[in-house]
């Protein structure tokens, strides 16, 4: 039987919906409980982890399969197989600046972000040594408070940016949810993982 690590948070509903469609019913087991580890009727185990911890559970063999945003994979570069693009949990990585302002890309530019590695690498690719400020949340606040000149963040609708007086200056790339496994789980539980892959691809639009 497989152990799944799922990201608690904005993507969880989509994950549960997808699992339901491939015959793994988690919703009723989860509802009304605050447990972070549950067993489903078909015997699968579900671990609910902080999104950025999902690859850690998988990488160390505590979970066989995980679902996590591409942002986490790009930022932390964990040693895992990134088997499928699941198509949901979409967003765009953008550079945003205060409305009416312009971005002067040059040495010393201050950029606030929850993704220091992605941000540093992006500005380095432009030949700029940016001063990257690592925040844990509410990045939109940084330019308003004078902490930074710009932010790098994920947007889906762009409403949060607008509400905080920010506009998209440029888009970097888009992201979505990925199905991951460890090299070892993929080798050891090949038949079970193969069955999950096949069912996901049959039941969902991810071709």
């Amino acid at each position: 039987m497989l152990t799944f690590a799922l990201p608690a948070g904005r993507m969880l509903q989509d994950c549960l919906f997808m699992l339901e469609r491939i015959g793994i019913t988690v919703q009723p087991v989860l509802s009304g409980t605050r447990k972070l580890l549950v067993q489903t009727e078909d015997g699968s185990r579900i671990i609910l982890a902080r999104p950025s911890d999902v690859p850690t559970y998988v990488m160390h063999g505590a979970a066989d399969i995980g679902i996590v945003g591409k942002d986490v994979l790009l930022e932390d570069n964990p040693d895992v197989y990134e088997l499928l693009d699941l198509g949901f949990g979409r967003g765009r990585f953008v550079v945003a600046v205060p409305r009416g302002g312009t971005l002067h890309i040059g040495a010393g530019i201050r950029v606030a972000t929850k993704f220091p590695r992605i941000t540093t690498e992006y500005f380095r690719s432009l030949g700029v040594l940016a001063s990257v400020i690592h925040l844990k949340g509410a990045v939109e606040l940084a330019p308003l408070a004078g902490l930074s000149d710009a932010i790098v963040d994920i947007v889906s609708t762009g409403r949060t940016l607008a509400e905080n007086g920010l506009v998209i200056e440029r888009e970097l790339f888009s992201i979505s949810a990925r199905l991951i496994s460890s090299r070892a789980a993929f080798g050891l539980k090949d038949r079970e993982i193969e069955r999950v892959l096949e069912r996901i691809r049959r039941e969902t639009s991810c071709a």
């Binding site: 063999g61 197989y81 088997l83 693009d85 460890s182 090299r183 070892a184 080798g187 050891l188 892959l197």
Partner: protein, 312 residues
């Protein structure tokens, strides 16, 4: 030093000794590899990943030294130089720490490895010999539920040569992005080869569809290797994965990884690297593997047969 640490130290010493004794019984001679040496002496033999994660130190004269990040390159250098006149095939074994940057602790990673290098034979028997020996190490440590996955480096290099975007293809292989690999298969005429995996019997089926000559002979070689492993009694734990890659650009022939339940990464791995010895002198075919002693010790049953349980 805590009592816990010294217990682990003792377990490691006993395990390491048993493994080296096994290697010696199988005809391998232990060598001592310097744990610090001039970077220039071995740098040519390092993979890009090793180069980027190695620790370098300046000595008093300004010479750059490297803390041993790997055993294979310095042993390949020995084979091409000091051991040049020894009879072939050369059977070398080793054990000790390798030092790499990265990992969660600020001091980087100190990985404990034991392994063998079989230099001077390009035969499939040599490939089978090292895989069988790696499996013997598992059995010696009482690890039963292990699985060996075989791949072949030539398949990845054919794909990289044919792919429109080499970097993207390398990433797709390393991260096993199945959708991208399928697209690349279509695009390069390799079809579903990259996504072929499972019991050894899948090799025969995929051969009928292969048109690329290098890929064809790679699969034939894997088939011969798998048959040899079956004859050695390992049939039930061998799988193949034609999309398996280890260190792109380093291996040239069959590669393998050994997995164990509860560990997310390989407990042992290796393969054929026919281009490495030539970097230090005359070219010679070679194959080998390394066993991750720390990972082996983290498996509770790993030391059961060594009579170490209950020492607290």
């Amino acid at each position: 030093m805590s009592i816990m640490r010294s217990r682990q130290g003792r377990e490691r010493r006993v395990l390491e000794t048993s493994i080296l004794e096994l290697f010696e019984r199988r005809g391998f001679t232990e060598v001592e590899v310097p744990w610090i040496e001039p970077l220039g002496a071995v740098d040519r033999g390092f993979t890009e990943e090793i180069r980027q994660t190695s620790y370098r130190i300046l000595d008093h004269s300004g010479e750059v030294l490297v803390l041993r990040p790997d055993f294979t390159a310095p042993i390949a250098k020995m084979a091409a130089t000091t051991l040049k006149s020894e009879p072939r095939p050369l059977r070398i074994c080793y054990s000790g720490s390798v030092f790499r940057r990265g990992g969660p602790s600020p001091g980087g990673q100190k990985l404990y490895q034991a392994g063998v290098e079989l230099i001077g034979s390009g035969e499939v028997e040599a490939d089978a010999e090292v895989v069988t020996l790696a499996a013997e190490c598992m059995r010696m440590a009482s690890l039963k539920e292990y699985r060996i996955v075989l791949g072949h480096a030539a398949i990845a290099s054919v794909l990289l040569d044919l792919a429109p975007d080499r970097q993207k293809a390398a990433r797709a292989l390393e991260c096993k992005q199945l959708q991208t690999l399928e697209e690349l298969g279509e695009l390069t005429g390799l079809g579903d080869v990259l996504c072929t995996r499972g019991p050894v019997s899948v090799l025969e089926r995929v051969l009928e569809r292969v048109t690329n000559a290098s890929v064809y002979s790679a699969i034939i070689r894997l088939k011969v290797l798998a048959d040899a492993l079956e004859a050695a009694g390992l049939g039930s734990c061998v799988r193949v994965d034609l999309g398996l890659v280890r260190d792109l650009g380093y291996y040239t022939g069959p590669v393998f990884e050994i997995y164990y339940p509860g560990l997310g990464t390989a407990i042992a791995g290796g393969g054929r690297y026919d281009d490495l010895v030539g970097v230090f002198g005359d070219a010679e075919p070679a194959t080998g593997f390394a066993l991750h002693i720390d990972k082996l010790l983290s498996v509770p049953v790993g030391t059961a047969m060594l009579g170490l349980t209950g020492i607290h």
